[in-house]
Symmetry: C2
């Protein structure tokens, strides 16, 4: 276990949960389930006994440094990697990988997002233990494939190769399919959701960067003498100024030939939208879900209501609405038209100012 490392990607700033999430407090820092722990904290908690605390790295943004150290006081400041710019997942992972390389030459590394939900935690932890054991002994790039439960068109899919067992060589990565294709994928039993969680050992991922993203490899390898020193911040500022904006999926995983997938089913949700939160929430017999606060519903159906805890709502004659209140904003809109949310947020910032977004 002492060679196990984890890179938690926590730089997201999405507005898909506005007004609950805000620019100053994005999704990963929020206590979505009202458990007292944010998604980031829940992510961190899952690695107890699997990855030593001192081997956990958070990659995020300068703006969230204090929030991260406040939510995870177990971390030393040097475990929080601060990107000066957002450059997608490949540079984010390369930064952390080369920083780990400057500290050790033997590491088995797990990469995970900070803002996903996992309901079957023990299953998840067992899967991770198996995966760590695999990459400790195999120079493969391993990705976690989620058993699909619906023909979701918002995710990429991974097609598994032939063979037995849950660990398979990857046949193809696919982009987000249309609904017809997604249905075929799910029915086939050969396609799994790409969860954005990866494992590999240090040598393997470094070789993969050198092979498939040589510029990024060169950029971050050049920092070997600066990582974990006062010069790191300046070096990283310069590195990011010029480095490519590219995802690890597109830049590495889809190009490499040594990619494996672990098929798994541990109640995963990427919590991508209000709708996905509604899907996994407890509902009353009329299909209304109320989170954090409480509500009385009169002739209401299929609503998602999210209130500050301690607050109540009385609702009448609403079907299929999202009612979300947080801080200085109240949102009441159709739940199945949440693609409009981005426009609302833009309009609000234009009309009322930054303090509302």
């Amino acid at each position: 276990m002492e060679n196990n490392y984890c890179i938690i990607m926590a730089g997201g700033v999405g507005s898909r949960f506005w007004p609950y999430s805000r620019t100053a407090r994005p999704k990963q820092f929020l206590d979505f389930l009202g458990t007292g722990r944010s998604l980031l904290q829940m992510t961190f908690d899952r690695f107890a006994g699997i990855v030593p605390t001192e081997n956990i790295y958070i990659v995020s943004n300068q703006a969230y440094r204090d929030l991260i150290l406040e939510q995870l006081p177990e971390l030393r400041p040097e475990q929080v990697l601060l990107e000066p710019l957002r450059r997608n997942t490949a540079p984010c992972i390369a930064y952390a990988v080369y920083k780990i390389k400057a500290r050790t030459d033997k590491a088995n590394i797990l990469v995970v997002p900070s803002d996903h939900l996992i309901t079957k935690e023990e299953t998840y932890r067992n899967v991770l233990r198996e995966c760590f054991a695999f990459i400790a002994n195999n120079d493969e790039l391993l990705t976690l494939g989620m058993k699909p439960t619906r023909p979701e068109t918002g995710y990429g899919y991974i097609q598994i190769g032939e063979g037995g067992g849950l660990l398979r060589k990857v046949k193809t990565f696919t982009e987000k399919p249309n609904l017809e294709m997604a249905k075929l994928f799910v029915d086939s039993g050969e396609f799994f959701w790409n969860s954005g969680m990866f494992l590999w050992n240090l040598d393997t991922i470094v070789k993969a960067f050198e092979t498939h993203l040589p510029e990024i490899a060169a950029t971050f390898a050049a920092g070997a003498d600066y990582y974990n020193t006062p010069a790191e911040e300046h070096f990283i500022a310069e590195a990011y100024a010029t480095c490519q904006n590219i995802s690890i999926d597109y830049g590495v995983m889809e190009k490499a030939t040594n990619v494996y997938v672990m098929m798994a089913d541990f109640g995963w949700s990427d919590l991508g939208t209000w709708g996905s939160l509604y899907e996994i929430s407890d509902k009353d017999p009329d299909g209304n879900a109320t989170l954090h606060g409480r509500s009385l519903n009169y002739n209401c159906h299929d609503n998602l209501v999210v209130l500050p805890s301690g607050k109540i709502a009385v609702l009448q004659d609403l079907d299929n609405y999202l009612v979300a209140e947080e801080g200085n904003v109240l949102l009441v809109c159709k739940k199945d038209e949440e693609h409009k949310l981005r426009q609302y947020v833009t309009d609000v910032e234009m009309q009322f100012g930054k303090e509302f977004v």
Copy 2:
């Protein structure tokens, strides 16, 4: 002017503006228009130059004593009359009248509710001056009749007698009419809304109590030696324990034969319901009114939105709704079904407790 007195009735505890109004802070104490002054304060302000401040009495409830003195620091505590029980308007007025009688034998008295809105204040003040002049010289009971602007079925009406001018002998008081009748009333030009504002001189109202409500007259006359002394509170507690629960309209005005009405039109609203607040509010071209806070409305029509100031709402696909947020409560319900509100408030108290009502 030094003989002019005013009795402001401020004991109401209605739930018709819940959740904006609360048991602990009823309508009269709220800054409805966002002007910085509550309805009670605005009522008080209207008498500047007409009634000396030391002649203004507020009749309310023990629970609101501190709130009243906080909102009206111009008053001495003995100007705030505290009813131990709610017993409708006749005892409320009798208490104040007999307390004034213990102080003076010459008073021209105006009685007004504390929770109504008046938009044409100068007209109102001119009407009051005329009315005071009339009752100073005539032993009549005078009521203010509001020129009706719609066939309102929620008010009582006053039918005027024959004659000229704006001051007429009252022919009849009527109960709340049905819609057909209300239309006839309005079209006739002979019927005026009963506003609940009265003027009379001390001798005349005392005689009216003695004639029409002799028990109440006897009860409060018996306190002559206790008013304005430390014994007043104890006396009043005993007086209220046994006294009748009856309105001044039913107990005095509808029975007396010396009743006059001043016809007037000064932008009066009793602000009886959320609907009446909507009627008098500024609206956008789609009929949406937003009070205190601000809102962005997408495909919304004819809504009333009441938010804490500084707060915004984003609303989509709502027609004819009331959206009201205050403190620990959010209410979203059909605006034209506000008669259901009382039930909601009862349900909320049962399910969630007193702190929400």
